[in-house]
Each structure stands twice: as C-alpha cells, then as structure tokens.
C-alpha cells in the first residue's frame, strides 16, 4: 500500500476516526496505531515485517542493557549493536552490489544472495541507531516497549521518513496535545502532499522516464531540461510524501519535523542541505559527521569528514555507483564552498542571484548520476550537457514543464503566505485546500510507488 492509494486513504480515515474516539484510552489508542503501522509494513510482505520486528526487538533490549551498564561495556555494547544494525542493512542492501563489483574486479563470483531490499530498512536502521546513541548519551530516557515500538513503527514515517529522533517524538506520547487547527492543517498538508506526488511527480515521471534509459538520444537543451524535470519530479515525490506524513501525523495529533523548506531557493550547497531532506542531513551531521570529528580540527580534516559523510549519505540511498557519485559531487562542492567561505574570496561576495544560479545548476547536474541507470548513461548525459550543440527541444519533453510550474510555485509559497493578510490566511488556506483536493481527484495520474520507498 502506498499513501496515495484509495484503499490506504479509506483505512487511514477509519483509523483516524477510531483513534480520535479512543483518545481518553491512551493505551488502546496507541496499540491501535501500532497495529495499523505493522499492517502497513506487512502489506509489502510478511518477511519485511518479521525483519523489522526482529531488528526493533533486538535494539530495544540492547538499549535497555546500555542504560543499565557503565564504562567500557556500555560503550562496547553500543558499538556492537550499531555494527550489527549496519551489517544487517549492508547484507540486504549492499551484498549483491559488492558481489557484482568483486566479480568485475577479480573475475571471481561470490555467492549471489538475491535477498531483495526489505521495505524501509534504511529508514528504520537510522531510527534505531539514533535511539541507541541518544539513550547512550542520555539525551532521551529509556522508553517502555509500547512507546518504543510506536515511535519506531509509526506509519507516517516508518517507510520513508522524515527521520524522527526519539526526543522529538516520544515526549508527545507522554503528553498528547489537542490542537483544534490540527484537522484543518493536517488536511491541507495531506491534500498538497497527494497533489505533489500524484499529480506532479507521477506525471513528470511518466513523461521523462523513456529519456533516462540507456541509449536514449537527446539534445543539449533536452538533457538540461530532463535533469531539471527530474529535480521537479523527485521534489514532488519526496516532498509530497513528507507532507503527507506530516499531515497524517497531525490528523492523529502528533507532530513530525519538516523535511523540506523550499530547496530550490537555496543559494549555497550548505543552504541546500538545510532545505532538502532536512531530517536526513541533520542525522548525518549529528551521528556521522560529528562522530568523524566534524569541523573541530583543521580544514583538510574537516573537508575529508564532509566528503566522507556525503559519499556515505549517497550510498545510503542505494547500492550503485551513481549514488556514490551523487554524494561525492555534493561532498566535493560543499568542501569547495567551505574553502571559499573561509578564504573570503571575491567570488564569495557576488550577489545572491549568482550564487543561487550556481548552486541550482550544481544540484541539477548532480541529479544526473542519481537518476541515470548506469555510469555510461551518466557519461552520455554530461557529454551532451557540456557542449551546447542543439537547443532543439521535442514537444514531448517540453510538455511536462506544465507540471513543473506548481513545483516552482511551491517554493514561493512561504513568500506568498507572508503577503496574505493574517485574518484572511485561514480562508485562503481553506480555499487552496479545496481546489487542490479536487485537482487530486480529477487530474489524470500515472500511479507509481514513491521513489524513496526504494531506499
């Protein structure tokens, strides 16, 4: 079940109503939501659910032991558990990738496991690691099993984030808040999320996918447009999913952290990562970059830490050299940016518009290896994108730009909201929600699974 399926939305509406009715009975309500979350996971396969429960239970007991231990054993258990979590992730996600690379490098063929990637494993692995570390650092107290499994399995975020920290979520279970605007805001988020995903991303995807296959021919202008449209598609897909998650959580009375904040307005790579997949970049910063030493030492060390973090962040998205290259490009560009800032070069003082254009061009270029099926296609794309041979654009590549317009408009929505008079804002929000909801129903959509469900 994906979150745009009618079946899911019907079940969700039912669960939201029952959950509201059970509000005075906290335990029953929480078990109901846990049960539904596990059903959502199971709808993708019982094996995925079994693996999730096994990893969740093992980490629960490990965290309990970490709380009770002291000194070296406490730290050793933390590292051993994290190592086991990462090993499980590596086994399912990277074993075949590694085997394929060993085969091409040495000619020796390691055993082919073909385990398949269990749904959500990348996301819940990050959740359990953050829980273990935060319990170890005493940032959060140890949670009871019900609250722990609720936090970990909560269906709006379990499959593809936002990556929520225990300290952000578990306190909400202890003291549920009832805000009367939750229904309106939740519905608005849900409607906009479905619109970005079903209407925008799926239609762009259907139009551009044929031009991303190996060997597909395109001109200079078409390649740039295809990369830009993919930027719009992945934004619609993932920001749409994240908004749906926020909306569903809000309709149930919980708050999840925002995952996107107008990334197309970013005027530096650092700024981009504060606006794009925010919960992921914060996780990388807190548990990997700082763990590697962060920026505590000199510039070369900081640069290595930054680059390594981004390469691993790229690899987290999937087992493929394209993701490594994407992460590497972002890492390298972040390093360059840091050097420029530090040196306070003249280039650094150029106007916002110049930096914005340079940043967005870099981001668009970096999407090529992320989307292309193989490195050969990446090479073809870049070769055509560098040499301005032809500005011709076929109508079938230009037409999906109509779906990109709402993506650009969505970047400007905070500015627009600021211009609406405060007393008119609720009315404007309601009117917008009604229009978007109706468009969700009537605009043709090529239903597809969320891109980030694959990670």
């Amino acid at each position: 079940m994906t979150y745009t399926d009618t079946l899911f939305l019907i079940l969700f509406a039912f669960i939201a109503i029952v959950s509201a009715a059970l509000r005075p009975m906290t335990r029953a309500r929480e078990w109901l939501l846990i049960g539904f979350s596990l059903l959502v996971l199971a709808s993708w396969g019982m094996f995925g659910l079994a693996l999730f429960l096994a990893i969740a239970v093992a980490n629960f007991f490990a965290a309990a032991a970490i709380v009770r231990l002291a000194g070296f054993t406490r730290k050793a258990l933390l590292f051993a558990t994290i190592a086991a979590d990462v090993a499980a992730l590596a086994l399912f996600k990277y074993a075949d990738f590694l085997a394929g690379n060993i085969l091409s490098a040495t000619g020796w063929s390691p055993p082919h496991l073909a385990l398949g990637i269990p749904l959500a494993i990348s996301f819940y692995t990050f959740h359990v690691i953050s829980y273990l570390v935060d319990v170890h650092r005493k940032v959060v107290p140890e949670a009871g099993f019900r609250h722990y499994i609720f936090y970990l399995s909560f269906f709006p975020h379990v499959i593809a984030g936002p990556i929520v920290r225990a300290w952000q979520f578990i306190p909400q279970l202890h003291a549920p808040r009832r805000v009367r605007t939750d229904l309106a805001i939740g519905l608005h988020f849900l409607a906009v999320g479905i619109f970005l995903k079903s209407v925008i991303a799926d239609n762009i995807g259907a139009a551009i996918d044929p031009y991303w296959v190996a060997g597909a021919k395109a001109t200079f202008a078409e390649r740039w447009l295809l990369a830009l449209l993919y930027y719009c598609q992945i934004y619609g897909d993932f920001a749409g999913y994240s908004l749906m998650a926020l909306g569903m959580a809000r309709l149930l009375g919980y708050r999840l952290p925002a995952n996107f904040r107008c990334p197309m307005l970013a005027a530096s790579l650092q700024d981009f990562w504060r606006r794009w997949h925010i919960t992921f970049s914060r996780w990388l910063r807190d548990y990997l970059y700082i763990g590697l030493g962060g920026s505590r030492r000199n510039l070369p060390h900081t640069s290595i830490n930054l680059f390594t973090t981004m390469v691993l962040g790229g690899l987290w998205h999937g087992a493929g050299w394209g993701f490594v290259l994407w992460g590497g490009m972002h890492g390298a560009l972040l390093v360059v940016e840091r050097v420029l800032r530090r040196e306070r070069t003249r280039a650094f003082h150029r106007p916002w518009m110049t930096w914005w254009a340079v940043t967005q061009i870099c981001v668009v270029l970096a999407w090529v290896p992320f989307r292309a099926p193989d490195l050969a296609t990446v090479g073809e794309f870049y070769a055509t994108m560098i040499l301005p041979t032809s500005l011709h654009i076929r109508p079938q590549i230009l037409e999906p730009m109509i779906y990109a317009v709402p993506v650009f408009a969505h970047q400007l929505s905070p500015l627009l909201i600021r211009r609406v008079k405060r007393r008119l804002l609720p009315f404007a929000l309601g009117a917008g929600t009604a229009v978007i909801l109706l468009l969700d129903v009537v605009v043709h959509s090529h239903s597809r699974v969320f891109i980030y469900f694959r990670f």
Partner: protein
C-alpha cells in the same frame, strides 16, 4: 483564535470547493461521452480481474483467494494460456457440451491469464495441488516456464500481499466507478494541451464460477467483448514485444513438463492475425499431444488478436467438434 481559524478555513473550503465541484460536474456531464458504464461486478457471479494497469487474477489463482483454488481443483478440465485463450475459449460452453455428451456434469475452468502462459499456469497448478485433470493448453505466447514481470512479482509475495493487491485494485475501481460521469478525468500536457476523459479506466471482468471472460470495457469504446466488432481497436491489448505465436525454441521445456504431469494434455491455438498454426502443430507432434486445430474463417477480433464473445462461441464450438471427432475415432 483557533476556533476562528477553523471557521474561516472551512468557509474557504466550502465557498471555493462547491462552485468548483459544480463546474467539474458540468464538464463531466457535457463531455459528450454517453457510453453506459460497465455493470458493477456482482459478488458470486462476476469479479473484477483487471482495472487500468492492475491485474489480479495472478493473486486470486496463485493464493487460492475467495475459493478460486476449490473451483480450480474441482474442475475436470482446465483451460491454460494467455489472454488469447481467455478471450477465445469458453469454459461454460465446453462444460455444457461435454456434460451433455457424457451424461454427467463435467466442470471446466478458464485459468488463462493475460500476459502469461504455461509458466504461470504451472505455478498455479502446483500451488493448488491439482492432479488428474484434462489440460487444454493454448500455445500462443506460452513461454514454457518463463514468467511475465507481473507473475514474478506475485510469486515473490505472500497471502497478505495478495489480499492487499486485490483490495487495492477493487477500491480504485469502486472509487472511479462511483465518480464516473460525475467528475471528469483531466489530462494535461500530453499531445493535446488539455483532454477531458471519462473517470473510469479500462475494466476487465470474469465469471466467478468458471473464469470465463465476462466483458472488457474501455472509456473510448464501452463494452468491447460482448458487442459485435464494428472496427478494430488498434493494438489495444497486444504488446509489440510479445511473441507473435508459439515459441518453438522452448519446445524441450514443454515436452519435459507435459510429460511429467499425470494429466491429459490437449493442445490448441486460438486464431489471430498471422495465425502460425504450423508451428503449433509441430509442437504438438514433438510433444506427442493431440492438437485441436481451429478454422480461422469468419471470426471477429477486437484488435487483431483477441476475439469477441460471438467469435469465442464459434471457436469453442469448432474446438469441441474436433474433440468429438477425435474421441469418435
């Protein structure tokens, strides 16, 4: 403050939503497509087998959902093959004729699944532990062990995934069936700048008791299977990459598998454009199985490959005539 927010919000929803809804209803009504929508499948009589891109037979047959396994096991004769056999052979007609001829009830079930063939049928037969039945196998596009991507996905799933897949397709269909002709479906930016269409997408329904095709409905043509063909629908169901006939290269697999079953296997090839009956006969000879050849004259298809209900009846009758001839000999 919050109360005020909610009031204004819902006022905004209603004051914008109602006029826009009315406008959309007016667009749907005035779209000019008055084709009646298909009948909603009646539980126990007909069932939804395909909606838009979703196909659910794979799940129903492989995971024995809603008693389909029982009906498959209880059948004396199973029709196997791809969409050609689904559109071209009637289990009901076979059952009626054979029952009359033999003096006792002979149950037949159409197990053909669009896009697949012997490869998937094999999985269904094994999963439902069938044995001793007569298998009537249409040789078109039977890939002798190869599986379509849809079949491979089904075989990786489990029973809960199967129920969810069926429920997903059914709810999508039910939603669109309810909204059809009330709200339009609007398509931007593909060829034409804006296209207003029917809300329903193509629907395929089958008979609950014997798996026969009930109807194929499309928003452009309405009921396509039950009504006589006026004009051919170009390439409606035929994938250009699909093999255009029996797969000779996979002959050894057919031979081995058919030899290993304790079933009576009868081969046939439902006529289509570029009917390659000689290759089918060769497969029958090489595998040592009887072959029911069907005269291709006077048949009507929807798209050059799939027959309509009238022609299905003719094909099944010709097939039965051959069968009775062979039994008499």
């Amino acid at each position: 403050m919050q109360h005020n927010f909610n009031l204004k919000f819902w006022l905004g929803v209603l004051s914008t939503g109602i006029p826009m809804l009315a406008m959309l209803v007016a667009i749907a009504i005035s779209s000019g497509n008055d084709l009646p929508k298909p009948a909603f499948p009646a539980w126990g009589r007909t069932y939804l087998t395909g909606y838009n891109a979703a196909q659910i037979d794979h799940y129903l047959f492989r995971f024995d959902l809603f008693g389909f396994g029982d009906r498959i096991r209880e059948a004396d004769l199973l029709i196997l093959g791809s969409s050609h056999a689904l559109f071209g052979i009637s289990a009901e007609q076979i059952s009626t004729s054979l029952s009359r001829q033999r003096g006792h009830r002979v149950a037949a079930f159409n197990l053909a699944v669009g896009g697949d063939g012997l490869g998937f049928a094999r999985e269904v037969l094994e999963a439902n532990r069938t044995h001793g039945q007569t298998l009537l196998l249409d040789l078109y596009s039977n890939d002798g062990g190869l599986l379509s991507p849809a079949a491979r996905k089904v075989l990786q799933g489990d029973i809960l995934v199967a129920y969810v897949a069926v429920a997903l397709a059914t709810t999508e269909f039910a939603r669109d069936w309810l909204l059809d002709r009330l709200l339009p479906r609007i398509d931007f930016g593909r060829g034409a700048s804006l296209r207003v269409e029917r809300h329903l997408r193509p629907v395929v329904t089958r008979r609950w008791d014997n798996g026969d095709l009930d109807d194929l409905w499309t928003p452009e043509h309405g009921s396509l299977f039950q009504k006589p063909a006026q004009t051919l629908v170009p390439r409606l169901l035929i994938d250009p990459l699909q093999p255009k006939g029996p797969h000779l290269a996979l002959l050894p697999k057919y031979r081995d598998y058919l030899a290993s079953r304790d079933s009576r296997v009868v081969l046939t090839l439902v006529p289509y454009d570029d009917y390659r009956v000689d290759e089918a006969k060769l497969i029958a000879e090489q595998t040592g199985r009887p072959f029911l050849q069907i005269e291709p004259a006077d048949l009507q298809s929807l798209d050059g490959g799939h027959l309509n209900a009238g022609s299905r009846s003719i094909v099944t009758r010709r097939m039965l005539d051959h069968l009775f001839d062979q039994s008499a000999r």
